[in-house]
Symmetry: C2
Subunit: 198 residues, 2 copies
DNA sequence: ATCCGTAAGATACGGACCGTATCTTGTTGG
DNA sequence: CCAACAAGATACGGTCCGTATCTTACGGAT
């Protein structure tokens, strides 16, 4: 912590030390009280070093969060649409847990004001899951014959993620029961009504 | 603005003047840059007067928002479940528009940290709509025979509001098409699959 | 009509943090 | 081995915080 050594870190080593400090500070004081000064002190460096990398708290926090999020290329094939959806939502939960409700809301709040930041946010947090959902869930279900591609409107396509996100932003915790009710009481019924055999 | 008069406002008159100032300041600089000092200056008063009423930006903003939100006791009976849902979601939109995406996210972010504030937030923003939905939408649909009460799980009950909220928090704007797709591609199908005749 | 309690309004404060400029000094690539 | 570059330290003016202190208008009670 109190970096008093002679040696001067650079490049990767410094970068990682800073990101670790951001994370520790975040865990300790939460995003709303995360400050450049606090992070600099904890990382044993100074504010200008941080400002050379990120122009705001939000960008710094996003870089930190992204570096800690699992980004698998796919999810295991469970053999059924229901199982695959649950598996994807479980991955989503593990990612949301890392950021936490408050930080996620605050990030979204600041990003909602800044188109550039907003784009970064979507790329980092939203799009990856949607891609996985398309490839590893809907794709397989179509191959299995559980659903037909034409049934999948844009809204249905996003539905599982939308519902879990809402639950998380509003309540902050996601139990297995919540995920199950989303899948069994909304997602699958909505698909069935359009002719799916699930 | 530059309150230089001799007269000294009190009670209701002062309260309203302050809330108006909060609103104007909010419109001009947004919630993220809303400050006690800015509001005090605009209202022609001083910080202590504000702190005597609210202990934080968030509480102040919430009081302001609540005072400007329409809170009808009911919504018109359109004759069909679909029409009633759309009517309720339209009311919801008009309320969300008042607060705005950024402010809503920021309020939620700060409320998510503070149980007391969180409760206030839910009472002011969430519960009223849910009650309306129960009474004026599901209630009527059951009376009409469109759905049966047993079909309505807790999740389905909240579904329309959840989906609109998600859309608003993520994208900030709610078009008629979005509301229509929510109702026609998710809510009604999910109900139908459970035996509703809608 | 007057008195008194209450709250308005003004001012000032230490403190946190911002965002930037300046400077020194390791480190590293050529 | 040297020059360029970035790390790291320090300091600055500025904004806003949250609170304490003080004066003074108002409004209700006698």
């Amino acid at each position: 912590m109190g970096r008093r050594t002679v040696s001067r870190r650079r490049g990767e080593e410094l970068e990682q030390a800073i990101l670790d400090a951001v994370w520790d500070e975040f865990q300790e004081v939460g995003f709303l009280r995360l400050t450049f000064e606090g992070v600099a002190k904890r990382a044993g460096t100074s504010k200008p070093v941080l400002y050379r990398r990120w122009s705001s708290r939000v960008e710094m926090m996003m870089a930190c969060a992204v570096s800690r999020m699992p980004r698998p290329d796919s999810i295991p094939d469970t053999g059924s649409l229901r199982g695959d959806i649950v598996a994807l939502l479980t991955l989503m939960r593990s990612r949301l847990r890392i950021i936490g409700q408050t930080a996620m809301l605050a990030l979204l709040a600041e990003a909602s004001n800044d188109p550039e930041l907003r784009q970064k946010f979507f790329r980092a947090v939203v799009n990856h899951l949607l891609d996985l959902l398309d490839m590893a869930v809907w794709g397989r279900a179509i191959d299995r014959g559980e659903i037909r591609g034409e049934q999948l409107t844009e809204r249905l396509r996003r539905l599982p993620i939308d519902l879990v996100r809402n639950e998380f932003l509003l309540f902050g915790d996601l139990t297995d029961e919540v995920v199950a009710s989303i899948v069994d009481e909304v997602v699958l019924p909505a698909l069935r009504d359009r002719g799916a055999s699930v």
